[in-house]
Subunit: 259 residues, 2 copies
């Protein structure tokens, strides 16, 4: 059955989508077939993987609302071994629409379990979350085995970390006792900015080994890639950003093996 | 009565809080007394203005839920002419707690109107929003006379703009016919990155004069300031970021005068 990882952080713009897309591509590149579930109404992961809005017929919204089995929403990307369940703005209505539904926190978990009962093509499932700790992120955390937390090396992002850890703890206590933290990945690290170093050493002091050795540098090629509908790994494999995500995938697989 | 401006964009990390703090400081510096309302559960605007968590006794959550009049939540910052209604994580519960309340979209507007009936100390009110288009942002838009939209010069941020404009249109049609767009401010502009230019010319082509002439450059001093609990204008007045926000305040006041 696939290993399900949630990519979460309620702070906006810290590199959740960029990490989902490029970590997913790097895992696929080393032979680990991967499914990315876009659970953000913005649909940036779907766009960054080259799925035009017109091709998003069955989406993560339909899966959450129970209108479609997960298998029917899966779209192949141009990257071999990498598929995606796309998202549209409809998803922003799910929170209120599911208010009085039973098992509203487990809609994604139930859909994934039903899918995995009969389909074993994926080794990993990565879930990209919106910048909030509402029902969508809770669904993703309830469905996941572990969390990968992108952390931008800036002050406001650091401030939000303790709230995120509390939320993970609450989900583990009430909804999903298996949920652990696979790791915290430092993103947009800028070696010219002493703030990056200060945040990085602060986080490593608090979280120790939970923080990946691999650090993702701020790299303009990474932010150029989505406008071409391509992961950075495909857009420019040699750039420092792509090389960092390849290293991160290796480190993640290593941690999975020695779990 | 104060002119109420909502600082909104559902895309995360585009500079909403940084704009609220520094535009507010620049307005106060030229004698326009300003109130910032922090409507983001992350509470970054409150932190960036030096309000420790322990001092956030009456918050925007209490005001929204009707537990406290707006006046009682106002805290003076160390900047003359600049005050703030702080936020805490409690705010993240408001959306579900107000589901069945009457006038749930107008809680902030009603609180502001009651306040303005008896208190005329502020010329401007700026409302910092979370990265979402849910009840908190809708409340802010329903309470505002106009929107200031920070737009990061990157692809994913550009992708979200049309959704944001649709939401503003919907609020104008159903909740607040006065709501207009005061302007779109390009943020984190990096002249070494050709993507910044491409996004900037794309936005100007679509939105014309709505886009401020002033562009906020990517400037490390801006992201260092919050760790000192100070606006960039106080932390480093001479830096390019602060100078840009001063210019933006001038341009905004000019637009207000010629409305
Ligand atoms: N290492 C990097 N170097 C340069 N730019 C980056 C890097 N990582 C991400 N970006 C850019 O920064 C912006 C924010 O990243 P991204 O959209 O992945 O964050 P997010 O956490 O998913 O945002 P949201 O909270 O809105 O979902 C994007 O424009 C992205 O292209
Ligand atoms: N012009 C700039 N130059 C450099 N850094 C900036 C600039 N503007 C904002 N930042 C930094 O970028 C990060 C994101 O900015 P900010 O938190 O203001 O965005 P936001 O839209 O309020 O985010 P959220 O969606 O989480 O509320 C912060 O760490 C901030 O310090
Ligand atoms: Mg994202
Ligand atoms: Mg903010």
């Amino acid at each position: 059955r696939p290993r399900v990882l949630v990519i979460a952080n309620q702070k906006g713009g810290v590199g959740k989508t960029t990490t989902a897309i490029n970590l997913g591509t790097a895992l696929a590149a080393v032979g680990e077939t991967t499914l990315i579930i876009d659970l953000d109404p913005q649909g940036n992961a779907s766009t960054g993987l080259g799925i035009p809005r017109t091709d998003r017929k069955i989406t993560s919204y339909d899966v959450l609302m129970g209108g479609a089995p997960l298998a029917s929403a899966i779209v192949q990307t141009r990257i071999p071994g990498l598929a995606v369940v796309p998202a549209t703005q409809d998803l922003s209505g799910a929170e209120l629409e599911l208010v009085s539904e039973t098992r509203r926190n487990f809609r994604l978990r139930d859909a994934l379990n039903t899918f995995a009962d009969s389909d074993s093509r994926f080794s990993y499932v990565l879930i990209d979350c919106p910048p909030a700790l509402g029902l969508l992120t809770v669904n993703a955390m309830a469905a996941a085995h572990a969390a990968v937390v992108p952390l931008q090396c800036e002050f406001f992002a650091l401030e939000g970390l303790s709230q995120l850890l509390k939320t993970i703890e609450r989900v583990r206590a009430n909804l999903n006792p298996d949920l652990e933290i696979q790791g915290v990945v430092l993103t947009m690290f800028d070696k010219r900015n002493k703030l990056s170093d200060e945040v990085a050493s602060d986080v490593r002091a608090h979280l120790g080994d939970k923080v990946y050795q691999t650090v993702i540098p701020r790299n303009v090629r990474i932010c150029e890639a989505p406008s071409h509908g391509l992961p950075a790994l495909v857009y420019d494999l040699r750039c420092p950003g792509s090389q960092a995500y390849i290293k991160l995938a290796g480190e993640l697989i290593q941690r999975e093996r020695t779990r």
